[in-house]
Symmetry: D2
Subunit: 363 residues, 4 copies
């Protein structure tokens, strides 16, 4: 049991079900003295809101975050920051018919087994993608920490439905609703979405993450390597089925002389490693990619069973996204930020001791 807490020093615990009363997060370990308010967090939440654009569910979610604790007169106090987002206008009657049916590709079956039949079946309950709203809220707090060290995380879509972005024009990613750095690819992706929508099917894709400003020295030897924690954080997002850093899977086809990054007196000469060596950041950009599976909720009829083991056919109606992209993009950024904030604070302890940082004296 458990499993709803992330981190060693910057600790995020999330809670909430898709159609329950509320979702939220408690962040324990945020340092004091940071400016923080609801508007700032809200801005991050807006990024995962369904827009008017193609490919997104028109369901009107009103994700209003409230800060319940840990912030006083506009500044963090070092005590736990509780964030809550109440679920509004959520009609759960639509889910009545899946009460006893295991939707393919969803956690319905595994939750049913794991928890002995006790589960909130509405919209997937805790296993819903909606759970990520709490991650994004917590990620906004991590973002505040990283800002103080000028660490910038950017995530963007490099493939959707088999269409790959050829360019990495990051300036345009907030100008299209798929966070795509290649306008031509974006157009094709939109067409693909429309096409698949008609089929009642869904699409997967690939998201890339670039992190600028990471100091050298983040990450720990052996188990808590930076790439291991990043991998875990991103693989913990429901739709993610793969993770790679630097050359990633391509590295398995390279020779050492091709994959190694030579070093000059000015720094590394390239970045096949993706910004980490032996689990610790090199001071270069972090670069990684995740594979996002197609959303399992599709209108196309599928074979499945109910909890009496009877075979049934299911067609999932309703306003479902065609792809976890683009809504997963800010979730990915949030998780990367949470990982980095934690490792930053861990390494600060190490550094502070190395420098024998003085404690403040009052008397």
């Amino acid at each position: 049991m458990g499993g709803n807490t992330w981190g060693r020093l910057f600790r995020v615990t999330t809670f909430g079900e898709s159609h329950g009363r509320a979702l939220g997060a408690v962040i324990d370990g945020c340092p004091p003295g940071l400016t923080l308010n609801e508007a700032y967090i809200q801005e991050e939440l807006e990024k995962r809101r369904p827009g008017k654009a193609l490919g997104e569910t028109p369901r009107k979610e009103k994700d209003k975050v409230e800060i319940l604790s840990g912030v006083f007169e506009g500044f963090t106090t070092g005590t736990p920051i509780a964030l809550v987002i109440y679920n509004m206008d959520v009609s759960s009657s639509a889910y009545e018919k899946i009460r006893e049916v295991f939707r393919p590709g969803h956690g319905d079956f595994t939750y049913y087994i794991k928890y002995g039949g006790f589960r909130d079946y509405r919209g997937g309950g805790r296993s819903s993608g909606r759970e990520t709203v709490a991650r994004v809220a917590a990620g906004a707090v991590a973002k505040r920490i990283l800002e103080e060290y000028h660490i910038e995380v950017t995530a963007y879509t490099i493939a959707l439905g088999g269409i790959e972005a050829k360019k990495r024009n990051l300036e345009i990613i907030y100008q299209n609703h798929l966070f795509c750095p290649d306008l031509e690819a974006y157009q094709k992706m939109c067409e693909k979405i429309e096409e698949v929508k008609k089929e009642g099917d869904s699409l997967g894709g690939v998201v890339e993450v670039l992190v600028k400003g990471v100091p050298a020295g983040l990450g720990e030897p052996v188990f808590d390597k930076l790439e291991a924690d990043l991998g875990k954080a991103l693989l913990s997002i429901g739709a993610v089925k793969g993770f790679e850093i630097g050359e990633g899977f391509r590295a398995s086809y390279l020779k050492g002389s091709e994959n190694n990054d030579p070093i000059s007196s000015e720094g590394f000469l390239k970045n096949s490693a993706g910004g980490v060596l032996a689990g610790i950041s090199t001071g270069q950009d972090l670069i990684m990619r995740v594979a996002v599976k197609p959303i399992p909720s599709i209108r196309k009829p599928q074979k499945t069973i109910n909890l009496h083991k009877e075979e049934v056919e299911i067609s999932i109606e309703g306003r479902h996204d065609i792809s976890a992209i683009p809504r997963i993009v800010p979730v990915i950024s949030a998780m990367v930020r949470i990982v980095l904030a934690d490792h930053l604070l861990r390494q600060l302890s190490n550094l502070a001791f190395q420098k024998r940082l003085k404690f403040p004296e009052f008397f």
Copy 2:
């Protein structure tokens, strides 16, 4: 700091440097009553020993494991199991010349920065692949736990130096020194190794892991998803740059109707998910793959710098492997076992409470 412990209930802490006095592991949380002895663990260690075959370093390591605690009269006692492997016949003089040089692709630079210049430079110290000997030893203990539940982990090489195995003939993987399930591919891999050896270069590859017998219900919601912990565990191995489960990156090109696994009254009809849904095992086989980068130690000259920031050329002589494969294969199995043992014990607590398991009464 930290980062050398894995697990919540089955906890593994490793220690040791490549050329230090010893390497080892402490396993805290192994249940009592399991048969365990040094021969059993030694057998696992032998799998990562350099053989006479191609592609492996001829250095004679004598990795003799000693059990220091936690086992009494042949049975585990529930108390911590300390395992130690002393480093023998290790000449470190060969490393004198890299004392001040950052080898490309290694952790020399990042360790130097992170730890303020204090590091055991010999053979990479803690960042050496040799660290994994402790993982394999600990993995043997995890294996004993899994055996009681008939869970079987098998890892094998499906690509090396760009040559891909087309078959999955698992019966032959222990009959060739690369753990390759395709004899034809194996032959080509061997040729490739010979060729690259002459060039003074190295090769990467891909390892696949198949787990049979996993009960449904392992893994936790949200952050400690089974695939997230598996991903972290495998990405924590030095040479691993990518991880995927089920269809993995291929899933990003599929439609929902293709990627979803339909269910019949007999069970799941296919296994694109790789044995997990919403982070929890489905009861099907687990299937995952990792990308292994080429070994960074190569004879071919490379550009780098020393710690005075002077540019130097380095050619790494000595008896180095051409690829982390095959020695990484038993390490991968070990890590998967450690993850599964931990999640098994976690879920047992949940199940036991669900069944209101009775405590033994003595009086």
Copy 3:
């Protein structure tokens, strides 16, 4: 930083400040299938509410708990249970004058130093005794777990202001507002309270805890001994300055032959140990005591300084309790329950493996 989470398998994270928006707790690791509702938790909260009786603050707190997640149709689902208690009708203007003053015996100074001056000074913020409302709410969930195993925790006042209870008549503890098991002592305690109230001073006391029904085998060797975790849990309550189990400090004056508990074929012949041996429960009652310091907020003038290091005299007006007793009593019960629930789940994992508990099979 951090420090707001308790437990390994039954994990409680609390948040909230005395005069902030809300207090609450997230419980991660509560097993599924337990009945739970707000009324049940509310009942526990009522026990720490100020009554009309002597010695308690007449401030009208309306501590209404809301369950935000983890409970569905009246049953726990195994996912995190978020509990929130909004702060109502709280006027903080009374605290304006202590904004810059360090109240003796409070955390004002230490929080000021630790968090670099960023703190919610109102009513002590996070360091207020009010924080314990979240513990009591979480303790109610732990209580549900223990009920399933017939483990019963009872806490009661055995000393207040130097007056000691001579009897242990547990039947009357809910019939007097001080949870005192000795009616005669109770009367004297009430008189003492009245007397000290007039002086503008406050009182400390001693609370004893009795736990019935604890199975043998709870607790872990070495660091996580049952008494160590109980001690930590109770010493983590603001007003507690001492903890002892069994004979406790008296044991230091006994001989081995007096302190050892002989064993017969029917069981232990006495219980000087307080129900634990070598950190593990014996199956006997647990019996422990905590020292509660007098409440630091007193009307009597005290010497202190402000944050400019100027010496000032402070007289703390307002509706303050005379003693942390009785309100601390349900908090103590709550913490003991949280500790026991966690250790119960830990030992269940051990037991389940020992019995090779079968996983449910669906197909």
Copy 4:
């Protein structure tokens, strides 16, 4: 299961049984650049060695510590420090007769139950006081950390067998084998020991700990209060049955005006709190006390049972200490140091962020 690891950032995992192959500790999270060698650790171990003086077992233990990892050329490297102490010349035949008997006051019964009958019965196995040798070794590493911040921990005996030290002459504590700060009391204690030795009985006592040089700001709110962690650490030592800080149990008899520590512009005017307020150090000395129970192994016959539930009488022969004092004294110091090292590193992270400590730049 588990329970053999202490700490969040400075993490100590211990292993080993009384009569097993070896005992030891792995310290994960020790910062790099500290001088450390075996002689330094050995010096701490010598403090718990049986001397020639009264009251201690004449068994010749040769506790030679070996550093297996984490130290290179005399300096810590930031990687795990493994310490091992092999058990020498240990004859276990003496324990053959207690193989099936539960010794009163020992963990024999509870271990038997908890671990389903699998246990190393020799000398108590893991539950033996000998386990603390690993704590003392680890404590020596913590001591090195504290030395850099001029934090000094001193523990000494203030009561033994009912005889209380009236003085606190700390200069003499290393001049008598009981670490007693009162020479007169020491003489009486020695007489008492002689007397009780003849009776075949044993004695308990009280140890006080004074910590000088603790900066303000150590400790975390709510659960990880400094006194809570100190209490847990000391209560985790087998013989300890009670813990108090500052006035401790005496505080329960004081009034607020007596117990509160007024503050002047020069600092706190007294230290009833024992150096902590709201769980965080005030910058004053820490002062705490623990109750040590009499050693359960006595020659005097005791009633008990064997594992077939047959009643037997047991007289524990052999060379047993009369009291856990003085050997427990360095163990207590070690645990306090381990707690403080962990909290120091935690607070350093907080402070470093508050100061926006810069990361080193290489290029």
